[in-house]
Amino acid sequence: MARKFLSGDEAFAEGIRLAKPDVISAYPITPQTIVVERLSEMVENGSLDSEFIHVESEHSALSCAMGASASGVRAFTATSSQGLLYMAECLYYASGGRFPIVMMNANRSTALPWNIYGDQRDSLSQLDSGWIQAYAENAQEALDLALMSFRIAEHRDVSTPFMINLDGFILTHTYEEVNIPDRADADRFLEPYETENRLDLNEPKNMAFSAGPDYNYIFKYKEHQGMLGAVPVIKETEEKFAEIFGRKYTGLTDTYLTEDADYIIITLGTIAGLCRETADRLRAEGKKAGVVRIRYMRPFPADEIAEAVKNAKAVAVLEKDISFGNEGAVFTNVNSALLTAGVKIPSYNFIGGLGGRNISASDIEEIFEKTENGTEKVTFIGIGVDEK
């Protein structure tokens, strides 16, 4: 095992190197670019034996990955923001075709106004595209997810593509010390991809066909089952990961001091770290604060969230997203989970970080304070009354 000082993008590329995809097809876009730059260097210097295909667009990048996956090999692509939106059509093709492609998405705002900084409106707009969605908090988790994602996506009970999200710049471009697993351990963890869902000269198949109303419905049901099937597979994969590499992960959510917390922030991505630090500071003042970090938005951890916050007095959902005219998509999902589980506590939505705007520790303190005292359903943090 090597220890290196790497950015989130570089760490992620190391994880992909260890997963050995046979085909990498990608188009560069800030802040994802470093991932594909590092991978193309690895292919060039021989440390990664992959076919690296330079495509002319993101639509082509995912189409190409699908073609590779349909030939029965492991495929990887990476994108961000407008690139993800440009390939949106192909997202549904890949999930419907049950091609277990892994894609890294650097979370970045969507135009207009043009902006390259981080928010989560790109990936959250694609929650219904049938892709597993994981959100990394740090570079180590990004690398580990890169390795785990193939094992989960390719499992026969799942056969579902996997999108790993890294907060643009905050995670993709900041440096941390990262443990890089050895090749032998990575090979022990992740076996080569085998599938019957592929082009085969000896056993010709009709692939990517059409299906009328009756059968289409069955395919969509089976797609839903595949996504739900990821839940036990994620658990099993994390156990195997801990056994081989010694690092433990906690499934669909990551909870912090929620057992006795009165007020809990539910969030996702890198901002969870600052939420935990703020919770510590508030606890030192005698306020029982807690944090739930959502690691997977799909499959959605409805039961886990409800269980974690059931004894709280109120919850806040902090997200870098807004569904204009309603509320943040994460808030909608969380409220549905709480209502269904019979958890009747006030919930408030805090929107922040759009277009990369900083969310400060004092912003988070204010969120805890407003959650305790009650506030509007949806609050854009940092926008004053006089600005409305």
Binding site: R98, E196, R198, N206, A208, F209, I218
Partner: protein, 96 residues
């Protein structure tokens, strides 16, 4: 090779694959209902050049004994075979 029409046209839940891939080389239904004109091959004029076979957008023309044969179960009647046929062996006739 002409695809065969499979007799079994109804599938239960467990028979439907989860992947959109399934046994190839057969079709489950005829598809030519909207054809208003049909190509008819004049065997004497056909020289077996295979141009119609190459140009047919639906792949419904096969060459048997060096003559064009049209599969009317799937021909949509577009008339491209007739247009491409230099010896004038394919004539379009109205469907009755």
């Amino acid at each position: 090779m002409k695809p065969y029409l499979r007799e079994k046209t109804s599938f239960g839940f467990t028979e439907v694959p989860k992947d959109t891939s399934f046994e190839a080389g057969y079709l489950v239904t005829k598809n030519s209902g909207w054809r208003s004109i049909r190509p008819v091959v004049c065997i004497d004029r056909c020289v077996g050049c295979m141009q119609c076979y190459l140009y047919c957008p639906d792949g419904v023309i096969s060459i048997e004994n060096k003559k064009a044969v049209i599969d009317y179960d799937f021909c949509k009647g577009c008339g491209i075979c007739s247009k491409i046929c230099r010896p004038g062996a394919v004539k379009m006739e109205a469907e009755k």
